[in-house]
């Protein structure tokens, strides 16, 4: 399961048998915190195998809470979360936080080693997987650097490498690029799409950026706040090539406008004012 030769089929096509089947379903899920805040109520959604799903919504709409529930980091106060496969057959989950969340006392190598180390793999045994993960995010030469010595974008790449090193079938990302400048963000968007195609994993991506969600996703769930629920679902043709031409195309602008309107409607505002910048 952790060997370097364990390469899953390339995603993006209809060739895989299980492709598109739900791997995780949330039904009537609610989450209330001890301080009385109800973050989610009656949330229904599913995650389909191989898709790139974005959870889009304003701050405080419960999308990050939903991601934590999906990860199993907290339990819902009502409703059920159904896994298509029993726990033993599930692949591990990769999680990328909003901040890089690296251990400052460990080198890049040590940070990427962490998930495997916690599963009992020695440095030597884990080295090929670590080198491969670092290569995938373009940090092959930085294994001995410390987080302090890296830029914000590079730290985020290390964080992604750490999430990929266990070869997860489900990659959860909580606004990972929100704190980065636009140039770095576009670059990481492109690299993330390339990784997703190579690895064929399922990605759930939390964002508050309409443009980012349309550029990356095969499906967008627009959240409304207080209480957090899915307000709209937007499907985006997975076969459209996501390149710089797409980023400036009329199709892309149209989909951004539709998504903006859905978001504005979810936020209870008039859709007319939500034009594009």
């Amino acid at each position: 399961m952790t060997g370097a030769g364990d390469r899953r089929p390339v995603g993006g096509g209809a060739s895989r048998g299980a492709h598109g089947d739900p791997i995780l379903t949330l039904r009537g899920v609610g989450k209330a915190f001890d301080n009385g805040v109800t973050a989610l109520s009656g949330l229904d959604m599913e995650i389909r195998d191989g898709e790139f799903l974005s959870l889009l919504g304003p701050s405080g709409c419960g999308k990050s809470t939903a991601l934590r529930l999906i990860a199993g980091l907290s339990a819902p106060t009502s409703g059920v979360i159904d896994h298509a496969r029993p726990a033993a057959e599930r692949h591990s989950i990769g999680f990328v936080f909003q901040e890089p969340t690296l251990m400052p006392w460990a080198s890049v190598f040590g940070n990427v080693h962490l998930p495997l180390r916690l599963k009992g793999q020695s440095r030597r045994a884990a080295e090929p997987a670590i080198e491969e993960a670092l290569e995938r995010v373009g940090l092959a030469g930085f294994r001995d650097a410390y987080p302090r010595e890296l830029s914000g974008g590079m730290k985020m790449r290390v964080s992604i490498a750490r999430a990929l090193v266990t070869r997860p079938s489900l990659l959860l990302m909580d606004e990972p690029f929100a704190a980065l400048d636009e140039i770095t963000r576009f670059k990481l968007n492109n690299d993330l799409l390339a990784l997703w195609k190579q690895l064929g994993c399922t990605v759930v991506f939390v964002t508050h950026s309409v443009f980012e969600s349309v550029f990356l996703s095969t499906r967008i769930l627009v959240f409304r706040a207080r209480p957090g629920q899915v307000a709209a679902e937007i499907a985006i043709d997975p076969h459209v090539p996501r390149d710089e031409a797409f980023r400036t195309s009329a199709d892309y602008a149209g989909m951004c406008r539709r998504t903006s309107q859905a978001l504005a409607a979810a936020m209870g505002e008039s859709a007319g004012g939500g034009g594009l910048a």
Partner: protein
């Protein structure tokens, strides 16, 4: 720059003594202090070793005791809540007030050691406990997602996160251990016991041997500076690769 300031102070001190023709029993000149330091070196050096030994032993005991107790505190909140007030009580009661009691219960050497330990113990306990509880919540989630055991979380996450706090507590404790040792020695010395540097200070005062008093004080200060320097070096060596406190300000 600090060297220049130091030199100016010494020269001013020398001038003050010369111009006013102050006798050595009021204020000895710097040369007189140095001469006494050389002349009485065998006595003073033996006393220095006594004080240094007590300070180092007290610091080691404080590191062991404070560190272990911090681990216990961090493992269960109820233990921290029940025992922390006792630690605070020991900390806020001036050591000079506890020392006479210790001297009744314990041998003088042991009493001095215990006093130095009591003052050095608290900053290590308090800082290490805080450090062990100051883990990035996202990293804690990451460890939980990866199925980390309690021991793995402690060794790979909480201990490294606590290290800067511990080292900062250690630097404070180093200075306090010396102060505790000196204070307790004075308490013991006035009862006619002990032979550490503080005892030499008190003894010289009785004999109005002011130059030797200055020489002993100088040695105490130098010991304090040495301890501080050594612990700062240790801290820098441990943190230089990753912690903000060890950053080169020129970067």
């Amino acid at each position: 720059m600090p060297l220049v300031v130091g030199a100016v102070v010494v020269v001013a001190w020398d001038l003050l003594v010369r111009l006013n023709n102050l006798p050595p029993y009021v204020l000895p000149s710097p040369e007189a202090v140095l001469a006494t330091l050389v002349k009485d070196w065998s006595v003073l050096f033996a006393s220095l070793l006594v004080t240094l030994r007590i300070t180092v032993l007290a610091l080691l005991a404080a590191v062991t005791g404070g560190g272990l107790l911090a681990l216990v505190f961090a493992s269960a909140r109820i233990v921290e809540l029940s025992l922390f007030p006792i630690a605070v009580l020991l900390q806020v009661t001036p050591i000079i007030a506890i020392a006479p009691l210790m001297l009744i219960y314990l041998q003088p050497d042991t009493a001095v050691l215990v006093c130095a330990f009591i003052v050095a113990f608290f900053p290590i306990l308090s800082n290490t406990t805080m450090g062990l509880n100051s883990v990035d919540p996202n990293l804690r989630d990451l460890f939980a997602l990866s199925g980390a055991s309690r021991l793995q979380s402690l060794l790979l996450l909480r201990l490294p996160a606590a290290l800067p706090y511990f080292l900062s507590g250690l630097r404070i404790a180093g200075g306090l251990a010396l102060i505790g040792a000196i204070v307790a020695e004075i308490a013991a010395g006035s009862a006619g016991q002990g032979s550490g540097l503080a005892f030499r200070v008190v003894e010289s005062a009785y004999r109005l041997n002011i130059p030797r008093m200055f020489a002993a004080l100088l040695l105490i200060s130098l010991t304090g500076i040495f301890i501080h320097g050594a612990l700062s070096l240790l801290s820098w060596l441990a943190l230089r690769r990753w912690h903000e406190s060890a950053l080169d300000p020129g970067r």
